[in-house]
């Protein structure tokens, strides 16, 4: 093997054919309001934890829609459940409860 000083980077492409929807469907059955999210980012803008950690509800929901459950859990690990995100959601989603459900269903709690 020749050492070129650089190598192939793994592909970040998401294969939706290999997306296991069962876990995501369980979440939607419990939290149908999750479908309403338009990823506006209001929740992330007011998030206290996001200032000091990688916490982002918007990114977490985006990751879930693309079949990346583990990444979503990582995004929500810093949540302190203060509920400020729920107060500002323009779609009226109970984001605090949604975060709790995501962490339970995806095995972090």
């Amino acid at each position: 093997m020749v050492d070129f000083g650089f190598s192939l980077s793994p592909s970040s492409r998401i294969d939706l054919d290999e997306f296991d929807r069962k876990t995501f469907d369980r979440l939607l059955a419990l939290e149908p309001d999750a479908k309403k999210c338009m990823e506006c980012g209001s929740c992330s803008a007011v998030c206290t934890a996001s200032r000091y950690t990688e916490t982002s509800v918007r990114r977490a929901l985006h990751a879930l829609r693309n079949g990346c459950g583990a990444q979503a859990v990582e995004e929500l690990k810093g949540c302190q459940f203060c509920g400020k995100c729920t107060m500002v959601c323009p779609r009226g989603i109970n984001t605090r409860h949604l975060i709790l459900s995501i962490l339970k269903i995806y095995g972090a709690l």
Partner: protein
């Protein structure tokens, strides 16, 4: 869609390409990478098709490599471009044809900048006069050399000695066409078919008997990217882009790849060796790679040029599999002989990619 409506929309994607009388500028890197391409272009257009293509030894680089590497400012590039255009005017030409896609993008960007900021154009004209004593001028038409070959594709087809057809099976060869990003992605109106339906290479392939492969990553960048490649640590990005394209085209079993950019054929050709060394995978079947050609090389093969006169022996991925399919007779012994029979030396054998 209603047929007339479709026709009208398609007309927006067309480009006016004058028939004759061009001022030709070469590429900095193509002469080193693909040694016979520009010579073939000049021979085909001048001697076979009888066109007036003028070339001056006084023209220089367009400055594109330095510009895209952030080592010179835009004003410097514009002055270099203004000098090229001034030379064209000095020799009595209005039509400008360039060999390089990066240059083509730089020229299109410069002309657009001058159109939008006339005060900048006046400043560059003044700098040009002070530094070079040349009169400022702009070309009436600016085309890429592949536009010209596209325009004359049927005339070339009429003179064809070989077709893009497998002589054993009689079926059209499957050709992947790859357009350089700076051809029409930045200024869609400057390219045949715009950014969405670039037809410049597909038109040549179809006119010469081949079949264009439509694969998922067809419009993905080859991965060159000046900043990706120039820093060794970043070359993995470049390699990964090319790898993505090869993985995408592999199921369609292409017979060859044709490109119209200096960087694309280089990377699609050379990275096949690097991918083979790093992963052990080859894409051409039987441990071989997929031959990569420039459009001039493809036109040259169709018109019956000797493959070694076209410089095909300098490719990393051997082209013999394609020559055999097209029924082109070649002399294996003279592959590495230069002008006057001078021995060019033999390349080293890679451990995976068969040559």
């Amino acid at each position: 869609m209603i047929y007339e409506g479709k026709q009208r929309i398609w007309s927006d994607y067309q480009k006016e390409i004058p028939d004759d009388h061009y001022f030709y500028v070469r590429s900095c890197i193509r002469q080193a990478f693909f040694t016979g391409s520009e010579v073939a272009f000049l021979d085909i257009t001048r001697n076979r098709l009888g066109k007036d293509i003028f070339e001056s030894e006084h023209h220089t680089t367009c400055g594109g490599i330095a510009y895209h590497s952030d080592t010179i400012p835009h004003e410097t590039v514009m002055t270099i471009v203004a000098r090229q255009f001034a030379l064209m005017h000095k020799y009595g030409y209005e039509n400008y044809v360039c060999s390089c896609i990066t240059s083509f993008g730089v020229y299109a960007e410069t002309l657009e900048t001058w159109r939008e900021f006339p005060e900048l154009q006046a400043k560059i004209a003044e700098i040009l006069m002070k530094t070079c004593r040349l009169e400022f001028a702009k070309p009436k038409y600016i085309v890429h050399a592949s536009d010209l070959i596209f325009k004359f594709r049927y005339q070339i087809a009429a003179r064809a000695v070989h077709k893009l057809v497998n002589v054993r099976t009689g079926k059209p060869l499957k050709v992947v066409e790859h357009i350089g990003c700076h051809y029409s992605k930045m200024f869609p109106s400057k390219g045949v078919g715009g950014a969405e339906y670039p037809y410049v290479l597909a038109g040549m392939v179809e006119a010469w008997g081949g079949e264009v492969v439509d694969y998922p990553e067809r419009r993905h960048c080859c991965g060159f990217g000046f900043r990706q490649y120039f820093v060794q640590a970043n070359r993995g990005y470049s390699l990964s882009n090319t790898h993505k394209k090869f993985e995408s085209m592999e199921p369609y079993h292409p017979d060859c790849i044709v490109t119209n950019c200096p960087g694309c054929p280089y990377f699609l050709d050379r990275w096949q060796y690097v991918i083979a060394e790093q992963t052990g995978k080859t894409y051409g079947g039987d441990g071989r790679g997929i031959p990569v050609l420039t459009y001039e090389e493809m036109a040259g093969l169709v018109m019956g040029y000797d493959p070694w006169d076209l410089g095909l022996q300098t490719h990393q991925t051997p082209v013999e599999s394609l020559l055999d399919k097209m029924g082109i007779v070649y002399d294996e012994k003279s592959k590495y002989l230069g002008k006057g029979g001078k021995d060019l030396g033999q390349p080293a054998h890679p451990s995976c990619l068969k040559i």
